[in-house]
Amino acid sequence: MRTYFPFTKATIQEILAYPGESFLYIFGMTIGMFVVYYIWKVIYTTGSNTVLEGFTLQEMIAYIVLSFGVMQAINNGTVWNIAMDIREGTIIMNLIKPINYHLRVFFQEMGYVLFICSIVLVPVILGLVFLFKTGTIVSMLLFIISLFLGVVVGFLFDFLFGMLAFYIKNLWGIGFGKNALVRLLSGALIPLAFFPDVVQKVFDFLPFKAMVYAPIMIFLGKYNANELVGIYLNQLFWILLLGLFNYLSWKKAVTKLTVQGG
């Protein structure tokens, strides 16, 4: 562990060296959130419904703000960093050092995740629990565990995606496409409960639900004890499965790696 913490620290220092850029970026991202917020607000205030798919307006607002924060944490730079390492050949520097590449990148990204948590997620959940009385202290703690597991699932998925850089040069396209895909399938755009039942069954067999939807539903107290355990197990299952995929594909890729320069 002590070997890898400096990577986390380095990322945080990098962000703090130019704090303006990160703040402006996050500010820009909130615009999309406001578009969705206004749409829901109109739906609840002009329609005859006060509860849609089990969500009150207040819960829906909490969902929108939280999913925005969780999505920022999930969309850390993993895909981009791995793809760049592969493209630029700097990956070779990691292979000749006695450290695990996956762990290094993971700890590096945790710096960004911690940054997002401290400026977005922590204020949001404290505000929701103490000011708006949405969610409780217990659900908050259960959420944090699930959030962490979700971030790990997201990381492992990103890592697989980033390895596409072995075959594809359009790194920007890879990152952008991945974000769009995760945004839809994880419930960041609209709660998964709004999808038709058949589609929801399919989501149970995909890793995306574990990233955004499941942690937030835990926060909102939508699961009973049994379901809660089921969610945690589901997240652990995806960590194991994606971890295995990563292990196998990495082993294969490294033996084939050709670096041009570097």
Partner: protein
């Protein structure tokens, strides 16, 4: 004419690289396709629960959405290099190159890059527009089709002008990508009926950063919603004013203020 010939040469070069990296082209297009598709799914899921959104039906919202993506995509297709101006060209000193050649620097900058990713937006935009057009039972006259083309061109010019202004700021500050990103993100509002947003946002999107004229305002006119007279003409005027301001004022004084970072 000379510029047209030069553009053709740049385009030829670009198409050669495109043929070289065909998968990349497809991936880029696919990415924007997924983004567009997910927004559509969002709209459809919402309308499966409610009959109308503040008086706007499903097909009317689709009409606005589809129309909004067409100018967005066309601008994206041609002027993507403005993002690189905002992000890295000034900072890295690469911008000097454009000032040393005997062609208009802005033309050179824009002609250098052609972004086929944008076809993802254009194809989806046109398809949704056509679908909504059919479902709403509209039948445009020749004049209306003409006005539609004008409205789309004005929309493109509004996008390009706003991007130019945002990117030109880098000529003073070396980098303006984050600023441009925020301004560009505001266009997300214009894909939906403006009437659902707060007065503050409506005012900004009409008078300050006029994305409202890109889709919502012309779409209201074409659907037959009550609008003020000469709607399309106003859009054209706004576009021309912004372009003149962006090019003659911001870009040109930016060039004067520009100091190379060295190369």
């Amino acid at each position: 004419m000379r510029h047209f010939r030069i553009y053709k040469v740049f385009m030829k070069q670009y198409l050669k690289t495109l043929m070289e990296y065909r998968t990349d082209f497809l991936i880029g297009m696919l990415s924007f396709f997924v983004l567009q598709a997910s927004n559509l799914i969002f709209i459809s899921l919402i309308f499966s629960r409610i009959p109308h959104l503040n008086g706007w039906t499903y097909h009317e919202v689709l009409f606005i959405y589809g129309l909004s993506q067409i100018p967005r995509g066309i601008d994206h297709l041609f002027t993507d290099n403005l993002w690189l101006l905002a992000g890295s060209y000034v900072k890295s000193g690469q911008f000097d190159k454009y000032l040393l050649r005997p062609i208009n620097p802005l033309f050179h900058l824009i002609a250098e890059r052609f972004q086929p990713d944008a076809f993802g937006e254009i194809i989806i935009g046109v398809s949704i527009f056509a679908y909504a057009y059919g479902q709403l039972g509209l039948s445009f006259t020749v004049i209306q089709w003409g006005l539609l083309v004008i409205a789309i061109l004005a929309g493109v010019l509004i996008y390009t002008s706003i991007k130019l202004i945002g990117a030109s700021i880098a000529l003073w500050t070396k980098k303006s990508q984050q600023f441009l990103f925020i301004v560009y993100q505001l266009s997300d509002f214009s894909s939906y009926p403006l009437s659902i947003f707060s007065t503050f946002i409506k005012t900004i999107l009409t008078f300050v950063i006029p994305f409202g004229f890109v889709a919502f305002i012309p779409a209201s006119y074409f659907i037959g919603k009550p609008v003020y007279p000469l709607t399309i003409l106003w859009g054209v005027i706004v576009a021309l004013v912004f372009w003149t301001f962006g090019y003659q004022v911001v870009w040109k004084s930016g060039l004067k203020a520009y100091e190379s970072t060295g190369n």
